[in-house]
């Protein structure tokens, strides 16, 4: 039997009541996936591109990987994976389906919870939606080695709650001043919180080799000096016309062009990330799993 999704939109039908908050199978929470958020202050820096390709790279390293497209309303990870999701984040947040139902396989290995397209703005999301998302992330984290969160741009509370639920955040920026200041705004906001994820930086769309390192050094110095926050460099991803001119339906770059400079940069980024975090694998969660971290932020909202 399938959930009556039309009923879920219109009101609260019988089937909706049955399927809403359908309990996910009990899973051990002693160990939990490493949760990494990909975020940026500014939109269009390449978060989704890096998230999907990083997920494929991790899958090739033998990890069980899930991507959760938290870019509520402006989701496109499913397009980059070339899948047409039947259920999305919208159904999940509405309570029409469970996390297990929302998680779909992709042709390239990682699982995906596709973002919703019916949520027109972050302002529509309330504490209740975020609690549902927290529970879903808890289930996903208990069943994978690494969970990658493709976070929305901007500094709205739902976006920040999603970032703060992760153990590590990869800030994706470009070497231009607008992206740089927005990335710093994000880092400053993170550093204003009682606890925040370890911050890593990737500089995407770098026109000249070495510009990424220079961008990092400037941002790291400002973050240290003004926000009291250390950030860690993961590397630079070169500007590549092969990426810019990609068409819908093409396989992700790491699959179609594994030897191109951009793919090599992503693989290098992953190996640096692995070295920095001490292994991309499940970790002991005790009582501080992703769901608890998210709940702590929801209480502060």
């Amino acid at each position: 039997m399938e959930p009556d999704l039309d009923a879920s939109k219109a009101g609260r039908g019988f089937l909706r009541r049955i399927f809403r908050y359908k309990a996910a199978p009990d899973v051990s929470r002693d160990r939990e996936a490493l949760v990494i958020a990909f975020a940026s202050g500014k939109g269009g820096t390449g978060k989704s591109f890096l998230t999907t390709n990083a997920a494929i790279g991790l899958h090739r390293l033998g990890r069980r990987v899930a991507v959760v497209d938290c870019d509520f309303g402006l989701a496109n990870a499913h397009l980059l994976f070339g899948v047409n999701p039947r259920f999305t984040m919208q159904h999940l947040l509405d309570g029409a389906i469970s996390a297990q139902q929302a998680l779909m396989p992709t042709p390239y290995g990682p699982g995906l919870i596709a973002g919703g397209s019916g949520i027109s703005s972050l302002a529509e999301l309330g504490a209740r939606h975020m609690q549902v998302l927290g529970r879903a992330l808890g289930w996903v984290a208990a069943n994978h080695d690494v969970v990658l969160l493709d976070c929305p741009a901007g500094l709205a509370p739902p976006a920040m709650i999603t970032v703060l639920a992760a153990q590590h955040v990869v800030v994706v920026t470009n070497p231009e001043i607008a992206a740089l200041t927005d990335a710093y705004a994000l880092i400053k906001c993170l550093a204003r919180q009682p606890s925040w994820p370890t911050v890593h930086l990737v500089v995407n769309r770098v026109a000249q080799p070495g510009l990424g390192r220079a961008t990092f050094e400037r941002l790291a110095e400002v973050s240290r000096r003004f926000a009291g926050c250390e950030i860690h460099y993961l590397g630079e991803v070169p500007e590549d016309s092969a990426v810019t001119h990609r068409r819908l339906g093409q396989a992700p770059l790491l699959v179609s062009h594994p030897e191109c400079p951009t793919s090599l940069a992503i693989q290098s980024m992953l190996s640096t990330l692995e070295k920095n975090v001490g292994g991309l694998q499940m970790q002991a969660s005790a009582n501080q799993g992703v769901e608890a971290r998210m709940a702590a932020q929801i209480r502060r909202w």
Partner: protein, 347 residues
Amino acid sequence: MIRGPVLPQMREGLWALVAGRLEAIETGLLLVLEDLDCSGGRLGAVEGLARDAAGAPVLLTMATDGDALLAGRVLAASEFLQRVGDSLAAAVPEGNFAPGVNGRVVVVGTEGASASLESLRRLSLPGVALCRLEPFRIGGVERFAVRWLANGPEAAAKVTAAQVDFAVAADRRADWQTIEQLSLRLDPAVRIDGDRFLRRITWQGRLLGEVCAADGTLRGSGADGVSYRLLSPRDVREFGDRLVRRYAELTGLSMDGGNRAGEPSARPREDEVGGGGAARNAKGVAPGESLRASLSSARLTPEEYSALGGPARLAGGGTEVAGVAENVIRAVSAQEGSWAGPTMRTD
């Protein structure tokens, strides 16, 4: 046409409104699950099961005009809580309910349900709180105030099960009292329960630590399983420090960043790459500051723009400088609804 504020008159509509704003009903109320049927399907399900700030289970049901099953549903819910007692905590582990704390039923109604609420109030049911939402309109937005009709939060059950005496040796009693007083001072939601030889210290159902009395000595254990032999005032202070840090972790007040799973926050983050934890919280958030407040207070300063290569270093002149500033201000404050200026640059 000018219309007054209107609350939903159907149970489901009212619940959709209330479920998203439980904090407005009672501080610390957190939704655990929805649709709890405790009457075998005869009287309909109560809308929500929540946990209050003391870690007690709270059944929430909506009262609307013409709901003939309301009284029966409330009675069934109240009886259900008495019947299942502490075993609810084991049956719904995600609720993190505190052991030994009595649950209650909260009935939320609107103006239209005044008659039903009044009937319930006259019944004076123990453990049943009644409130009515008073809608109003401010700045074009509908909001509601909560008017308690019976057993409001101030009267909420802060009742713990009768406790047996803790069998602590006379020469260690002062140490135990120190720990007990420290714990109870942390937060009104901290509870201490247990049996003759063991005391569990919890906050909202989450373990802060345990103290065990055996062989005339006291032994403490933290939530992370680390044991402490409480032989001297220094040991007691160390254990107390452990409890406070655990409390800070759970409440989000911890000043230790990184959130590495299972890692005690007091431990220096020596293993962190590049010394990431060393400078943490140098400009940290004030304790208890809300997420929204912390975001709005993170506005960038002119010195920061300048250091990033903004106004002081840009050779482009005023237009670009203004564009950078606007871009940053937009990023920080647009979500707060305070951004009203023109957009000079877009993504």
